[in-house]
Amino acid sequence: MSAIYKREMQAYFTSPIGFIFIAIFFLANGALFSYLTLQAGSTSDISSYFLTLLFLFIILIPLLTMKLFAEERKQKTEQLLLTAPISLTDMVGAKFFAAYTMFAGTFLAATVCNLIPYMIYCEDINLATILGNIVGILLIGGAFVAIGMFISALTENQFVAAIMTIAVIAALLFISFANSYIGSAPVRVVLSWISIFSRFYDFTYGILNIASLLYYASIMFVFIFLTVRVYENRRWN
């Protein structure tokens, strides 16, 4: 498992993709942060920054996940992994953790960069809110990475994988806005359950809601599991 993890991490930096991801992340993140908090004057609510950051993931997460499996399939290198003495779960898990390390590492580094001026310039700092937001983002990011990885396993075209991932993440985020326009109660209930966004609010208040935590964790596990199934299934067909 560690072999594939290492290889994936290395691959992010032997191609420009890892650098592009980090550059865009830092640039957009810095701009958002300075605009929404440092320059926002009296409203020093840091949550609006974290909420906006989520929408950045629509473009950033596919950068990390699009090639995970699509590229292996195209280059036929997956044959190497699938005939090596490792289990499918190890293979999928290693790839997930590599993409997640990139995501979480960059996010945490960027956040530290943001919080230093924030701590210096703002007076009423609510540490619980900050931590809640960070935990929330780490969870929601994990769910998105798992979804992106699953989509990457479905195609051998990176570009298709990226577009599909963008569409799915955008849909998941925007469902909660559409929800308020829907009259039918049952539909609203279903949509709010799917809506990844609505569960994020608790975290923005600094509340660690176990239900939300489990919700995001289960999305991660379901999509990791589904990716394993995709490979299991391909072997039989």
Partner: protein, 327 residues
């Protein structure tokens, strides 16, 4: 060492591999011969655990690949049809990755350098795989299969796309490997298997049609001589004479060729050299023979010869004719 029993793989209605059984003993080099699309790769993919069989079993060293895939895979080094190379890695990084992937316990540096010596890639060890030539890439692919010193090595068409010099080198390499490993290699080139392998398994359209010693196959093929002869003269009479001629098992007219001649396909009885008697017979009638060509033994001939043993020859006749005309 390798045992395949009643292996079947179906894709929808198509039976890509149809009830194949054979065994490979320890230290043997076995050639897996068949035309493109015969089911060679599918069989190899099932043997290596890349695909699952619809029914039947494949065991490596007594371990069922479906029941205990991790243990079985540890015993296999596999070079797929397209070498599975990460182009963004150097040869060194790649082989180290494979070493970790297979969870090897040998002395890393020594083992990898040994492999590089054997497949002769030491001089490109530090280079990016993307920048290597096709021949070197193929060798890195072979090196990958050798990492961990597996008991069984499986090569899927190892010489495809290489130049003649490289082909000879790879063949020599495989022969060397056969001293310490059990090797299966697939190919659609007959001379390749007869050059390297001790035994040949022939499959066609997913079915096993022969599993014999290489000499046995060569004997069957050589006893089966086919000529393409250009003769000037009346077609019907010539055919008539040829059919009556002793030693000719089959003949037919392939149609008009240059000027006033016709081309005829002639097959002799096994072990008979028909060329001299044929010349005199034609000379007797005053029909000039203006061209004679021994048809090379290709895969179709092998199949035909092998099928002939099973008295199914007539069914295949049409295929051969169209092949010859195509040339």
């Amino acid at each position: 060492m390798i045992k395949i029993e009643n292996l079947v793989k179906t894709y929808g209605d198509i039976r890509a591999v149809d009830n194949i059984s054979f065994e490979v003993k320890e230290g043997e080099i076995v050639g897996f011969l068949g035309p493109n699309g015969a089911g060679k790769s599918t069989t190899m993919n099932m043997l290596t655990g890349y695909l699952s069989s619809t029914s039947g079993t494949a065991t490596i060293d007594g371990i069922n690949i479906l029941e205990n895939p991790l243990e079985a895979k540890k015993r296999i080094g596999f070079l797929p049809e397209q070498p599975p190379l990460y182009l963004d890695m150097t040869v060194e990084e790649y082989l180290n990755f494979i070493y970790d992937l297979k969870g090897c316990k040998l002395n890393r540096r020594k083992h990898l350098l040994e492999i590089c010596e054997v497949v002769r890639i030491t001089e490109v060890y530090k280079r990016l795989i993307r920048n290597l030539s096709k021949g070197y890439k193929q060798r890195v692919g072979i090196a990958q299969a050798l990492v961990g010193n597996p008991k069984v090595i499986i090569f899927d068409e190892p010489t495809v796309g290489l130049d003649p010099k490289q082909i000879v080198e790879i063949r020599n390499l495989i022969r060397t490997l056969g001293k310490n490993h059990t090797v299966i290699l697939s190919t659609h080139i007959l001379p390749e298997v007869s050059a390297i392998c001790e035994r040949i398994v022939v499959i066609n359209k997913g079915k096993l049609i022969a599993n014999e010693k290489t000499e046995e196959i060569s004997r069957v093929v050589e006893g089966f001589r086919r000529l393409c002869v250009k003769i000037v003269g009346p077609k019907e009479e010539i055919l008539d004479t040829l059919k009556k001629k002793e030693g000719i098992s089959y003949c037919e007219c392939l149609g008009a060729r240059e000027a006033d001649s016709n081309a005829y396909l002639i097959e002799s009885d096994p072990g008979v050299d028909i060329r001299r008697p044929l010349f005199f017979a034609l000379a007797e009638h005053g029909w000039p023979m203006i061209g004679e060509e021994t048809m090379s033994t290709n895969l179709e001939d092998v199949f035909l010869a092998l099928l002939d043993k099973n008295d199914e020859r007539k069914k295949k006749r049409g295929v051969v004719k169209s092949n010859i005309i195509a040339r």
